[in-house]
């Protein structure tokens, strides 16, 4: 993996960004959930690129299979309630929210550009890295027994 990322990684990053924007810009909650599903699938693809297939599988199973389905159930329960929602925030602080969000967004992008210039020491890495035995040892010896 190169530091600048391959073409496939940039495609996945673009899909993640577009689908994440879709989550907050779709007015219909079902469309927002489907956009979030696309974001989760693209993230699983990025995890596969990072040689973490078990994490990618858990991402699909837990997030897409459990959490997102729970969201869909709640949307079904609320299907008549969305007409009462004001899309613009109410209260006197409303004019401040959009500039604040824009400033925070730009700050995060600037921080990302700053961190991307940091060179970190790269350790040796193999395809057997994600083996479940290592997870088991990590869970037991580094976390549970440490308490």
């Amino acid at each position: 993996m190169t530091d600048s990322g391959t073409f496939g990684q940039w495609i996945l990053l673009s899909l993640v960004a577009l689908s994440s924007f879709g989550v907050i810009f779709f007015r219909n909650p079902v469309h927002a959930c489907l956009s979030f599903l696309l974001s989760l699938v693209c993230l699983a693809g990025l995890y596969l690129r990072l040689v973490a297939p078990f994490i990618a599988a858990m991402q699909i199973l837990v997030y897409a299979g459990a959490i997102l389905v729970m969201f869909m159930f709640v949307i079904v329960l609320f299907q008549d309630a969305y007409h009462n929602i004001e899309e613009t925030p109410s209260g006197s602080y409303a004019p401040l929210l959009y500039p604040t969000a824009a400033a925070f967004f730009l700050t995060m992008i600037a921080m990302g550009r700053h961190f991307s210039s940091i060179s970190l020491e790269k350790k040796s890495f193999t395809r057997k890295f994600w083996h479940s035995r290592k997870y088991r040892k990590g869970f037991i010896y580094r976390f549970f027994l440490s308490f």
């Binding site: 993996m1 909650p29 990072l50 969305y82 929602i85 992008i109 991307s116 350790k123 994600w130 990590g138």
Partner: protein, 97 residues
């Protein structure tokens, strides 16, 4: 590696923007989940970079937290909807001092 930091920052920024500007409680929680996902991506990216498994293990903890938070949060939303008949987070001001 850099692309994963950029993707994580982008997702976190979009998530917190959604938390700030959206009034729909469902979208609010989806934005929270997106912020947790960005943390997961950064954990896995740095675990890959440094060649240890601790970042992967933290992802499991974050998954558990996300699942619990979604379950509890959606239960609260359902109960508030029974009381107020709205899913607008600005209307949920029962505990307001």
């Amino acid at each position: 590696m850099n692309i994963f930091i950029i993707a994580s920052m982008l997702m976190f920024a979009i998530g917190i923007t959604g938390v700030l500007i959206k009034r729909n409680a469902i979208i609010f929680f989806l934005s929270l989940e997106m912020m947790l996902n960005s943390a997961n991506l950064l954990f896995v990216g740095f675990a890959h970079r440094w060649g240890n498994e601790i970042g992967h293990i933290w992802v499991f903890f974050v998954l558990v937290v996300a699942a619990a938070e979604a379950a509890v949060g959606l239960a609260i939303i359902i109960n508030m909807f029974k009381t107020k008949q709205v899913v607008d987070v600005d209307q949920y001001n029962t505990l307001k001092g």
